[in-house]
Every structure is written in C-alpha cells, then in structure tokens.
Symmetry: C2
C-alpha cells in the first residue's frame, strides 16, 4: 500500500514538476508553487545533491559520495537465498575485523554466555576508571545481517576509542529465528552480564537494529524488573520498524546506505516480525513507555533514512524526563558515523559516546 | 553559478529517473541505481512527502502541510519594492502580537537604548529566580523582515513560557542599512544591557537571522573583550549565509517556509552583505572561532533548509568545548517550532530553552 500510493504520487509529481526543470529556475519555482498550492503532502522535485565539503573529512566525503550498495534492493525468495545474501555481506564485513583489531589493539574471544554466542572484546590497556565497567553491544544489520565476526566492528570501535571491555551479542536471526529470538538472546546475555559487573557501571549500545534492540532491551529489563544499565547509546535506532516517519520518505533515495524501506530493509522487517504487530514496543520501541530509562546519546546524519527514527526517539526520551543527547552529522547517511575506522568523524562520534558513558557510569 | 549548475544537474536527473516513475518500483529502483552508479553527487527523484502524524500535534501538522508562502520567490528590484514587501509581511506578523500579549500576559514597552529602537517585554509575574535575570532577543527575517512590532513574537514566547524579562532589539536593516548596521545596533544594546543586569544572569537568543546574530554578537563581544552572556539559544541559525550546507539542496522545495535560497532569501543575503565577504564570521558565524563561547541550545526540524546550518554549528560548538544541546522536530520546516503560539511543540521548544537558561544563568 505504501509503495503504490507513493509511486502514484511520484508519477503525479513528475507530470507537474518534471518538464519545468529544463526551462530554468523561474519555471521550476512556478511549477513547485503550483504543486504545493494546497495544504497537505509536500511535492518536491528531483535533487542532485553535491558531496558537502565544509568541515567534512575526506573519509566522510568518500562515504557520502559512495554509490548505493549493490544489494540495497535485494529480494531473497527463500531461506537459501537469504543465507547466500547474509553470508556474502558477512564475509565483506568480517574482512575488516583483523585490521580493526590491529589498529585498536583489542583482543576478541568467542564465548557462549547463557547458551548464546557472544564475543568478549578487550582493549590491551583498560584505563583505571574503566576497570569495573562493562558494556554490552548489540550489532546492526536489519535483524538479518551481521552474524559472527561481522557483528564486531562497532564493538571494536567503542572498545578502542573508549577503552572499555565489551560483550558483543551474536544473537540468532531470521530466516532461521525470527522475533523474539534476537531479543531473547540479548536478554539472556544481559542477565548474565549484570553478574559480571555492577549495573551502575554498565551501558548498552548499538546502531540501527542494534539501536532499536538497545531500547527494547532496556524496556524489557524495566518490565521484567531486571537491573537497568546506567546509560545507553541507541545510534540511529530502527525505533519504528515500519516505514513511519518523515525521513523514510524525504531521505528515500538520498540515503546511500539503506536507500529505501522498499528494498531488502522492509522485507527484513516483515521476516523478523513474523506476523507480530509492527507497533509492538519490543519490535518498534518508539511505541514503548520511556519513563525511567537511563540517559541516552543518539547519533544520526542529515541524509539518514532513520533521522526521523532518531529525532522521534530523542524527543520521546526527553519528554519522559530522560537525559538525552543528540548529534547529527552533516551530509551523512545511515550509520556512516561508524563506517570508516579512519574517519575523524568516527573517532569523534565514538569518543563522544565514550565520554557520555564515562559521565554516567560508576567507577567502583 | 550555484543556480545554473543545480538546474543542469536537475535536468539531467529528470532525464535519467523521470520516465521510470510511471513504470513501478522496480524500474524506479533500477533507474536510481544507474543514476547513482558512480561516486559523487547524489541523484534523488521527486518526492511526495505526506504530513507526518505520529507524535506530531494537529497544530504542527497544519504548519507542516501549509503551501509555500506567497512571497517565497519575491524579487524586489529596488528599495521601494523591498519596502512594500517588508511592510506587507510586517503587517501580517504584527497582527498576531496583541493576541500573544493577551495569551501570555506580557506587557511591551517601546524604548530607545543607546540610540537603538528596542522593546522591553515584561511578564506580569516574574518568578523569584528570574528577578535578576535579563534576556536579549534578536529577531529573525533574513536581515530584511520583522521591523517594529513584527520583531516581537519570539520575544513574547520566551517571556511568556519562561517568565523572563526580555529586551528585543529592533535593529536597522536593508535596504536602508546593510551590514554592519544590524550588528552595530545589537552590540550597542548589548553594551547597555550588561549595565542593567549581571552578564552571568543574562542570555542572548534568536531564531534564523536572529540565531546567526546571536552567534555573531557573542563572537564580537569576545573579540571586543565585552562581557559574554551565560548562555545562548541560536535557533536554526543562518550561520552560513551563502547556500553552503547539505540541506540547502536536500531540503530545497521540501522546506515550506524558506523554500529555496534562490528566492528572496539569497537576494536578502547579498543585499545585507553589501559586497562584504560572505565568509566573514560576522556575516556567516560558522566561520568564527567558537572557543570560549557560552553554553548553547539549538533547535531545528527534519525539513529545515537550515538543518545543516544548525548541525554544523552544533558540532563546531562541541568541538570547541562548548556545551551545546540540539533538538530537532519531526517533519518541521524552518523555525516552525515557534510559528504557532498554541502548538504543543512551541510550548515544548520554548520551555526547553527556558529550562536550559535556568540551568546556566545565575540567580543573584
């Protein structure tokens, strides 16, 4: 339904605004004014958006200028096709892991915790004030991508830039294990992790799907009267798993990471939800009750398909009385703040998260 | 130059992506992938963006759904045409002032300060902790709009929601008085204002042009070794007066308040700058040195043409070691957080600013 109404509207827009473009600015302005003469939906013409350069590092410029990922519009027809796609992407992501371990001087140990696969990521040197602290990481990837070592890059970034010990949860995923398997695994690890450190010295973090899971974990811990972490970092969280939110439309085809909900992303959403209500707060945590949640730091970019997910979450946290910080990077698409370990913006974003955790986590 | 290269690019985009829209999602996706197959500028097709409804108040929905302003593309040819446009817009804005004064129970007194026209906005009841506090307000309007009582709405909102006494500067503007007249007037008032209250009990605030002037005032106070305020609220600041910044393009024709830099906005920019370098930090404060500036709270919206201005400023403040808070409203265009005194989002945004000031301003 979303797809067909949007396409109809887009077709309408090209009829109104399309032919004007070749005629110069005045004709475009007149056509745009005519297309927006009545209250309601905004009609915007095509854009060609240059790569921004002011205060944007060369590394970030390269990310921003990247073509769409070749798999953005993948449409696997069965479990075998999903696995082929998942494996291909995982191989690409895992390829970066050795260089990341090397650069940040962290060790990675595979470990089963409460029957769940996980990794312990340990910096060679842990600063004194982090010795009793422990972070739990849930990776991103639309609930389908990022198994095994492909889960590790973000955990290594925060272990490396922040000097924290991190448990990264290699949770079960579709097509084999839809909701609530991922959340069950993450919560099983959380229940064990709070025995390894004091919850007041702990934080949960993750980006995208990992950001949504961070929120859902804290909501579920609250509901189940489990200890809460002292802080959290839901980075550009997939807090509304349906295509609800302004930038799902305004940044569609602008974001060069996720590109569109109508590609693999929406298919992964339905595969994961497996018939459950997409507004269940454990699936779309924006619909949860945020009262009593720990302080949060959120990160996004102006081209991020999930910018609305991020700002809706930020606002709802603040209105629930939760301290919540928001950082938005110029020109960046989804999760690009963590996409290149050598980008100054990556160092900045993860250093900011580490500083936020340092402010809110106990030491002893 | 900006205009012609953008139009050329837009024309190219419609050739590539345009005809695909009518053929369905798969054709659109293929055309988009082809148009973005090489690194560099992003090519995005036309969008029809529905009015967002989740957590967005009916009042904000109405603002978001508004047609473009009839004057967005005005092109006054001489001083008389500018004055006619300025007067027409001022009459519209000033019409709201009596109802605002009534709703918030504030009194307004016209007063000349250091030879500069200004208004003193005083709440009927000033909370005890605000008795020694004083705010200075610089209005928005592209350095051309908002003279006289048209300057007042935002001053009344913060006086009303925050219970603060506010001096609103009715600074000189083009076409009669280009840069640096506005800044000279604002600084003349600042120099007098710091005799009326202790600077540690004071803040400067303003939206859009007023946000840029807030930053430029604090930069100039620092350069001239004048007292600085204890906090500032540069709301969606026009911190880069040229069309530099990602959302000048990505939110062009999406923002239904400013719409495009190529309308009256860019003409006002050049009229104000009057031949001065557009990268002079007194004209585009993003190019200033933010070290030592007071804590700042910034506000924007996901459709704001100045979202990049806002996030670039936020980031630069943080990197200079300045405490800076960022709030972004779902679906809102430029400055819509202050556009309807009855909108819950307006109450929220101005209450957040008031709370931020309360946190940072001295009491005695």
């Amino acid at each position: 339904m979303i797809r067909s109404s949007r396409l109809l509207a887009a077709a309408f827009a090209v009829v109104i605004a399309g032919p004007a473009w070749a005629q110069g600015y005045d004709a475009l302005a007149a056509a745009q004014a005519a297309a927006n003469a009545k209250p309601g939906a905004r009609s915007a013409p095509g854009h060609v958006i240059p790569v921004p350069t002011n205060e944007v590092s060369p590394q970030a410029q390269a990310l921003i200028g990247n073509p769409y990922p070749p798999t953005f519009n993948a449409d696997p027809k069965n479990a075998a096709e999903w696995h082929a796609l998942i494996d291909a992407r995982a191989a690409l992501a895992a390829k970066n892991v050795p260089a990341m371990k090397e650069k940040f001087g962290v060790s990675v140990e595979a470990k089963t915790i409460a029957g769940v696969k996980a990794f312990i990521v340990t910096p060679k040197v842990i600063p004194l004030r982090n010795r009793n602290r422990l972070l739990v990481h849930v990776h991103g990837g639309g609930y389908v991508f990022g198994p095994g070592e492909a889960a590790l890059p973000e955990a290594i970034l925060l272990a490396g830039f922040g000097g924290f010990k991190v448990i990264s949860v290699d949770y079960r995923m579709p097509p084999d294990a839809p909701y609530p398997a991922a959340m069950d695994d993450a919560m099983a690890v959380w229940k064990e992790a709070v025995k390894m450190a004091k919850p007041k010295n702990m934080a949960i973090f993750g980006t995208s799907t990992g950001g949504a899971m961070t929120l859902a974990m804290v909501l579920r811990a609250k509901a189940e009267h489990l200890p809460l972490p002292a802080a959290m970092a839901p980075g550009t969280p997939w807090s509304d798993i349906a295509a609800i939110g302004d930038t799902y439309t305004s940044n569609e085809w602008v974001d060069n990471v996720l590109v569109t909900w109508n590609g693999w992303l929406g298919k992964a959403a339905l595969l994961y939800a497996n018939g459950h209500d997409l507004k269940d707060p454990q699936i779309s945590p924006i619909y949860g009750d945020f009262a009593g949640l720990p302080p949060a730091i959120l990160t996004s970019g102006t081209r991020d398909l999930f910018l609305s997910n991020t700002v809706r979450t930020h606002r709802k946290l603040r209105r629930a009385g939760v301290e919540a910080e928001l950082n938005v990077y110029e020109g960046q698409s989804h999760a690009q703040y963590g996409a290149d370990m050598n980008s100054p913006e990556t160092k900045e974003a993860f250093t900011d998260i580490a500083r936020f955790f340092d402010k809110h986590l106990g030491v002893k």
